[in-house]
């Protein structure tokens, strides 16, 4: 078992004919993901390395029975792509695109409520259940099937930690990069809930960063509902106040959302918070040997 994706996930790639779309469509397929089709308006009928391209998502769904979509279109078109995927009945939408206007995303977020659709991102690396399905841009090779579930707001920081887990001889059940934007789809709590109920997830890693109060909210949830061991690292201890650190989310203002706040909240929830990400794998491995 795994959460969100597995062997039966059939993926459409929206923006498949672009530089990133075509590269990662092939990379996902090479990893073993069922990439059943792609969408680029006006390029219907073509193919990308054998993957058929359609003009619209609904057409693609009809032809391929896809149940998930990954979006690689330019930021200004990304929200429309989300609506198109949602409207076509796809239950999982992974939005890689970065730089989406916040109010547009806010509308999409509210539109998707109560629609039984999982949106991951935007501005996220995607989701992978090693050995089963990879949707997104993460390098597949660093992953290994196992029992650590990982949630993160950051892409490359996630790879760092995945890599440390793999190198420590362990593996991942599912890795979910929820993205660094202030308004995004799935958040820590929903993923924590899924991991808590996933029998194949034995430990959970939560990677956070400064800005917002999502980690604090996650800590409260962990305290109440998560019985599995949770490990964490919070990026941005050295960041100055009031500055936006790349991720729109990573901004500290009004004295809220500092690394110290988040670390305190998580530790109070019983989470093991480490001061560097690259040793998380080792620490988990050690905890298992005890």
């Amino acid at each position: 078992m795994s959460i969100i994706v597995d062997q039966n996930t059939k993926v459409l790639v929206q923006g498949i004919t672009g530089r990133d779309g075509s590269f990662h469509a092939k990379a996902m397929r090479d990893y073993g993901t069922q990439v059943v089709g792609g969408v680029t308006p006006g390029k219907g009928g073509q193919d990308v390395d054998g993957i058929p391209v359609f003009n619209t998502v609904s057409e693609a769904v009809k032809a391929t029975d896809a149940n998930a979509s990954v979006i690689y279109v330019p930021a200004m078109l990304a929200v429309d792509a989300i609506y198109e995927a949602a409207d076509a009945g796809l239950g999982l939408i992974v939005c890689i695109s970065e730089g989406i206007p916040v109010l547009d995303m806010l509308r999409a977020y509210n539109y998707l409520q109560n629609k039984n659709i999982i949106l991951i991102g935007g501005n996220c690396p995607g989701v992978i259940s090693p050995g089963k399905c990879k949707i997104g841009i993460m390098p597949g090779s660093i992953h290994r099937q196992g029992n650590v579930g990982l949630i993160s707001r950051s892409g490359t920081l996630t790879y760092e930690v995945v890599s440390s887990i793999t190198q420590a001889g362990l593996g991942q059940s599912t890795v979910v990069g929820i993205g660094g934007d202030p308004v995004k789809g799935i958040n820590y709590i929903e993923v924590l809930h899924l991991f808590q109920n996933d029998p194949d997830t034995h430990q959970i890693v939560l990677l956070g960063e400064i800005g917002g109060t999502d980690e604090e909210a996650a800590a409260e949830y962990i305290k109440k509902y998560v019985s599995k061991p949770v490990f964490s690292f919070i990026a941005g201890k050295t960041a100055p106040q009031g500055k936006r650190m790349g991720h729109a989310g990573a901004i500290i203002s009004g004295g809220k959302g500092t690394a110290a706040d988040k670390v305190r909240a998580l530790e109070q929830a019983g989470v093991t918070v480490l001061d560097r990400p690259d040793i998380i794998g080792e620490v988990i491995a050690k905890s298992l040997r005890v």
Binding site: S163, T238, A239
Partner: protein, 384 residues
């Protein structure tokens, strides 16, 4: 993107929000000219992208054109929290009866737009929020539905019992919301919104922050960009697809991804170094970004060593390697450079680097130890 008060007032006026008249001035002469034109008391206000200008002496009354000349002269060129005042707004004086706060922003925890008003206007609203939260009335607006009439009423009845002021407030709040939405703001604020002695509502200050991600939708707003001196490098970086913030240390960082970039700074510090900057080359990097990154770093004379930390996902390591080679050919990188590469196209990248006599670590810890040592003048910490 932040804009100045006078620019924000222009936008509010376009949306029909009443503001007190005024004119922007870059010289004392211009300030004096406006003051003599209006022939009554004016307020001369520093136009900078930081708060607290009042306390810093950047806002002063002038009762005639001589005084306007004088205070404008004092304020222009003043340094406010690191920003040099290049412009002042000379605004008509107003007889104030009451000061109110009105602002629109996002509430990220509930994913709605939030409209805030308070009868305690004219002061630092964040302090009011912290000490007297009950004095702030919040209305949450569903972005799909937009602001409804009843919501404007809820806000207005919080502040005004006088029917005419109540109506004027409802109208003003709806316009403020419209301005917020249509220009893709992250913040639109009037503090204070005043009731004049004549009973009229007037925005005598104005603050707007735009959502950077949405600026492509509003080319006309781009023209309002007037970055402070200290923001210039950050903006230059942004225009080149980089995210850059200057810090005080001596280790220049070039990283892909904001989370890893912050983590890299944290680890550098943990190992005894001081990061000189935050620099995220972003996803989907092309080689040219690395060249730009080095141009930015080399401007900072404090930097003693450069740390390139890349974990490729959508970023391909070979692009980074090619960028580094280009940079080393185009400019004199007189600093030691420590490279760590992992992820997408890592092998390709290692080959490119080795062909050009660079080597790269694969473990972050090793690389950090080396770059910290190099920055301290030590050599070969990892004995390679």
């Amino acid at each position: 993107m932040k804009i100045h008060e006078y620019q924000a007032k222009d936008i509010f006026e376009k949306y029909g929000i009443p503001v007190n008249p005024g004119r922007v001035a870059s010289t004392p002469e211009e300030a004096a000219a406006y003051a003599s034109e209006v022939g009554k008391t004016v307020v001369v206000k520093a136009q900078v992208h930081v708060g607290g200008r009042g306390k810093a002496g950047g806002v002063k009354l002038a009762h005639n054109s001589d005084q306007a000349y004088q205070v404008a002269k004092e304020i222009l060129g003043m340094d406010i929290k690191g920003c040099t005042v290049k412009k002042v707004l000379v605004a008509d004086g107003v007889d104030i009866d009451r000061e109110i706060y009105a602002g629109v922003t996002l509430d990220l925890s509930c994913k709605k737009i939030v409209f805030l008003v308070s009868a305690a206007g004219g002061v630092d609203i964040e302090e009011v929020a912290a000490t007297m939260p009950e004095k702030i009335k919040k209305i949450y607006i569903d972005p799909l539905l937009g602001m409804r009439d009843f919501q404007a009423r809820q806000l207005a009845f919080e502040l005004f019992s006088d029917p005419e002021q109540n109506k004027a407030a409802r109208d003003l709040f709806k316009k403020l919301y419209k301005a917020f939405i249509e220009t893709d703001c992250s913040l639109a604020e009037i503090n204070p919104l005043v009731v004049t002695k004549q009973g009229k509502l007037l925005a005598i200050d104005a603050k707007i922050n735009f959502d950077d991600n949405a600026l492509d939708k509003h080319p006309e707003l781009m023209a309002l960009n007037d970055p402070e001196e200290e923001e210039l490098d950050e903006i230059d970086a942004k225009n080149n697809g980089l995210s850059f913030i200057k810090l005080d240390g001596e280790i220049g960082c070039v990283v892909n991804g904001a989370g890893l970039a912050m983590a890299t700074m944290d680890i550098v510090k943990l190992f005894g170094g001081e990061p000189a900057n935050f620099l995220d080359v972003g996803g989907s990097s092309n080689p040219q970004k690395i060249v730009k990154a080095f141009q930015l770093l080399l401007k900072n004379k404090k930097i003693k060593a450069v740390f390139i930390n890349i974990f490729g996902g959508i970023t391909r390591c070979d692009d980074i390697a090619n960028g580094l080679i280009s940079a080393s050919q185009q400019m004199d990188i007189h600093l030691p450079v420590v490279i760590r590469l992992a992820g997408t196209n890592e092998e390709k990248a290692r080959q490119i680097l080795s062909e050009n006599k660079f080597t790269a670590y694969s473990k972050m810890e090793d690389a950090v130890r080396e770059v910290v040592a190099l920055a301290k003048g030590e050599q070969n910490v990892n004995n390679r």
